[in-house]
Amino acid sequence: MNYAALYFQDLSLNCLLAREQIPPDRPAALLSHQERKKSHLIASNQAAQSMQISPGLSSTRALARYPELLLLSPDVSIEQSTRIEVLAFVETLTPNFEATTPEIFLFQLSTTKTHSISEWINDTIKHSSTILNLPLRIGLGKTPDLAHLSSISENSEKPLELKLTTPALSRHFFIPHLETLNLWGIKTLKDLAALPRQGLSERLGTQIAQFHDIIHGKYHRRLTLHQSIKRYQSHHHFSHPIENHTPLLFVAKRIFRTLCNQLQNHQRAAEKIQLTLLFENQSTHTRDLPLFEPTCKSHILLRTFHTYLEDFTAPAPILELHLELQPTLTRHAQYQLFQKSLKDPNQFGDTLKKLTEIVGASHLGIPQNINTHHPDHFKLHPIDTSFQIPSPTSRTPRSHLPLKRQRPPLHLQVASEKRNRFLYPLALLTGPYQGSVLKTRGPFPLSGSWWDEGWQQIQWDIELKNTLLQLTFTPPKMWTLTGVYG
């Protein structure tokens, strides 16, 4: 026997009986609704079943059969808390199990710490009745499904004697063409197993043939292991309030190492650190520290935490540190053979944070021209690891030679003369590039936002000795140096 199945029979009814400490020999049943008259029975205990009170009966009929029948209304909160207790109980038996239904748990016997199977079964049933106060059936089998069948049958040693019409069987397994089988005189699983597989498959289809394989133990499926929802968190209470971040880092290092080990064991990585600090004046500070790339390396988490603390000023001495890691699936990137990617995205994320502190968030990014004629108007996109920005619109530069822009524009005194409607620059009288203008290109009148405040200017490209400049004339008489070509 390789597999075991734990069957907590009629959990929703038995949890209510256990909570109210009703003895198991008293007939009891669970109603489908709160209102007694309109509802029917959805579960009944063994004492009630011995009086022919089975699920599906209306409440009035059930009371007619046994007037002292205890009718209970379903309680979702009690049922949920019992399910959590049951899961915790199963986790004490084995770490790897399949929660097939809320009542059935399957696992390999090799994962449990047992020397004698009979002793283990007795101990488990005993613990279940003392700890959970719930009836438990244990079934064993060479395949998971045979163990499952064994657990739901009355005689667990002979599961094939289970009748095909048993409600528990139809609740847990899908048996197609049940009526046809009944007409053929097939009453039990043993009868079904005696039929030839090929004939069954030809007459009733492949689904019944698959069930035939289950009964014969030929179908051996893999267990879908239960993954409990776990919170990766830890906290530390300082015996003396601390006033600098060195002890905080020391404790955080230890916590991160433990939490990262837990994450690794569950094939998860952290995508965010949730930090909570409790201060001596009873105030708290909570902050989410997102990571550039999911990781389960404690030194990267510590570095992110350290970077944050460098700029953090506590309002009072720190009493308690609480750290929680937000788990996510580990990143499986397909690295391109001929394409470079970031060596360490998390470190790059840290560097970006530090750069943002130095120059400001608005002064760092990937520039993109926007659709406007207004000079020096563009957009800076923030950066992520993929360096992806919205698909750029094609825009060709105005000239072959790029400009080095003067920010802010430098006011100049310019000697000029009026020709037609425009003032032509003749010489620069002030500023870093003084001298007579050798050649000019322009004027280029620009204007816009006439519906708002409006702006208007005239651009000139001028050539001095070894220098190409861009001048802007703003009416009525302001000349500015806006850039240098080359």
Binding site: I366, Y433, R441
Partner: protein, 203 residues
């Protein structure tokens, strides 16, 4: 027989029997012509821009034309990069750090070289005045050189005069342009490799 006679004899033999004197493995012409201004990974290069219009922006434009999987970094110490002078495709290949003060630019360069994730860092000190450039201590450049070596990042500084004592290569931009280059004539970049340029610190 003296040396002169031997060389005469060899010359005579070569003219009489040229096929016997052919090289067994004739040298193939080089397929790839390396540009002088290729910046090596892990090295510090200095590009001297002596005049204001010597072609620094044009060099930047050429660097941005190359398709790369990772963007290059431009540490703009005087916030003078003009996105409108470049196509949007070129702009998408640059991570622009706009600094107001030289100190910000120096800190940014230090951080990016230590980080080592982006392979090419352009450090534009071209518009910084000589007085401020002199204030940069020599050991700062030494530190950058070591960081570049460790992280494998190519650092290219643009300076108005020789400034970086530990530069692996020193290039000088000597392009001259006219107004015709703005629209009619495609401008050409003139770069020469130099070791003779006096350093600002030495001067």
């Amino acid at each position: 027989m003296n040396l002169l006679q031997i060389s005469d004899l060899r010359r005579e033999l070569r003219t009489k029997f040229p096929s016997a004197h052919q090289h067994p493995f004739p040298k193939e012409p080089e397929k790839r012509t390396k540009e002088d201004w290729e910046f090596k990974a892990g090295k510090l290069s200095e590009v001297i821009v002596p005049e204001i219009s010597s072609g620094m922006s044009l060099l930047l434009s050429k660097l941005l034309q190359k398709k790369q999987s990772l963007p290059l970094v431009l540490i703009d110490s005087r916030d003078s990069f003009d996105p409108a002078s470049y196509s949007n495709e070129q702009c998408s290949r640059v991570l622009w750090i706009r600094c107001k003060k030289t100190q910000q630019a120096l800190q940014s360069a230090d951080l990016l070289l230590r980080d080592g994730n982006l392979p090419l860092v352009l450090f534009d000190l071209h518009l910084v005045c000589a007085r401020e450039l002199r204030k940069i201590p020599r050991h700062f450049w030494h530190r950058l050189r070591l960081q570049a070596r460790d992280s494998g990042v190519a650092l290219v500084t643009f300076t108005p005069c020789g400034l970086v004592p530990s530069a692996h290569q020193r290039l000088i931009l000597q392009s001259t342009f006219s107004l015709q280059n703005l629209e009619l004539k495609t401008p050409t970049l003139s770069i020469t490799n130099t070791e003779q340029h006096p350093l600002l610190h030495k001067a």
